[in-house]
Symmetry: C2
Subunit: 333 residues, 2 copies
Amino acid sequence: MQDTHISLAHGNGGRYMRELIEELFAKYLANPDLDVEADAASITVENNELLFTTDGFTVQPLEFPGGNIGSLAVHGTTNDLAVSGATPKYLSLNAFIEEGTEVALLERIIKSMAEAAAEIDVKIVAGDTKVLRRGEGGGVYLATTGIGIRNGHLLSMKNIHDGDAILVSGPVGDHGIAVMLAREEFGLHGEILSDAASVLNLTRAAHEFPGLRFMRDPTRGGLATVCTELNRATGMGVRLIETDIPVRDPVHAVCDMLGYDPLYLACEGRVVAIINPESADTLLQTWRNIKGGEESAIIGHISTATRQVIIETEIGGERILEELEDDPLPRIC
Amino acid sequence: MQDTHISLAHGNGGRYMRELIEELFAKYLANPDLDVEADAASITVENNELLFTTDGFTVQPLEFPGGNIGSLAVHGTTNDLAVSGATPKYLSLNAFIEEGTEVALLERIIKSMAEAAAEIDVKIVAGDTKVLRRGEGGGVYLATTGIGIRNGHLLSMKNIHDGDAILVSGPVGDHGIAVMLAREEFGLHGEILSDAASVLNLTRAAHEFPGLRFMRDPTRGGLATVCTELNRATGMGVRLIETDIPVRDPVHAVCDMLGYDPLYLACEGRVVAIINPESADTLLQTWRNIKGGEESAIIGHISTATRQVIIETEIGGERILEELEDDPLPRIC
């Protein structure tokens, strides 16, 4: 397309919109199941047990060290399928694009989506674009919806037992801090990369364990929110050991400076797994041998001896992790 | 929930977001397949041939005579499945909500979604909400993605033949004009209701005809855009008879005043069908006996004698309908 910036005419259903879709979206996302001229994509699934999920993305800035809103959308949505015990197969994409957005930026975003999807063999088969008036959208918002095929047994919080071990597949909070630093708000600079990545290899490996109870990716609200959700849904307590939770030094440093708790910061490429205690060490070793899981750790366990989420602190005390109320970092995903 | 307006904290993944989802979204959208605590919904489909579609909605104002953005999102997405020859089954919902949005307004929108979904027995099984900073979103944007089960033979523009008849299921342009009047921009007032509605009964009836080639709902870009898309995709011409195209008098009147062409205005509850000429009259009678199809008409035919979209005008002349370039009415859907 000849234009360098998006105009309202790119959203009107006519020639400019067709060019935007054909020359930018279809250029990168083309696959045999994507027919940009059809109202709906015809897809055939291998079995009748599907998982279906959706996510909206509003991250600001749109590009950050380690990714952009496009790769984040693909990872975020397919990771929700992966932790639910499915193999992601198909995605739909909605793009809300603000008038004035640079076409080159949009192209980088779409290219990243295509790469992230190709990496895990997922196809984007349906899409829609809307153009928002200048000032009525934060550059680009995306909504992606995924269909996955269920692998074997269904995971559920209902499977969780007293004494089950809690693992996390890597350091927490990298994504939150990487995005925050990319805003250059506090005069802070850093080398932290977002952890945004597919967790499919990790979840597939975990799913081989019959003792696996449940998995979740700690995104908005972070690890602490996964724990408070577990607590709320099961009625059982959660005990975490602070020194066992992997947090990178620069993440600690920024958190100390700004008063954030890394346990509440978003990750976009981590998995929390709940597994029977007998299998915990084997899963840990398995994950440590998988790319992206090298820094996995066992961080605590489920306990009916308490009804809260309790963290044993570095200095030997205990504190209670409460459900998140204040929003430390809006527009993080 | 106690708040009367949405704040950024309603988007943070913590307590306020949970309350928003439990007390507003789940209140109206609850169904056995919706688990607001799961990362993905587990669904079982009756056969392996699915249709998958997605749409974004940015209509302004959010409420208009005949509907609101919530009912519009359900109708728009399920209609794309219906015209593709599927029975809509499941929807996912993304809501991008601007900080400061009135909770009562949001509740009316969600209630309308629930009613529109119940009417055609579709379940909303997955969702996500994001809160946008004040000034960074036009109140509410929605993205809905649908899964449908294919009924019988696959429709395609490739099936279209020279001489095929073109039907439309009712007057065109009502939605566009209803939304435009609701903006109260030009000091104009009117009684026009949006045509936003499910077309499922119409498409199901049409799908019984073996001679049915293709259907599409004329939304953004209107009837004219459906015709230019047919023309572009098939290489065949389209001939329309202006006096046979149903347009309500008040729609004509507003178009005359503002210089709009009703053929380019959005509909949200109409179907254009292409069918073999022998079956056209029977389909017309069938549609006229279905609620919402009473004003159906045969409006033209496919013709290889021309390579353009030609409309025979009321005064006996001809004009060519070109692909839409200017945007007469942004944020109409």
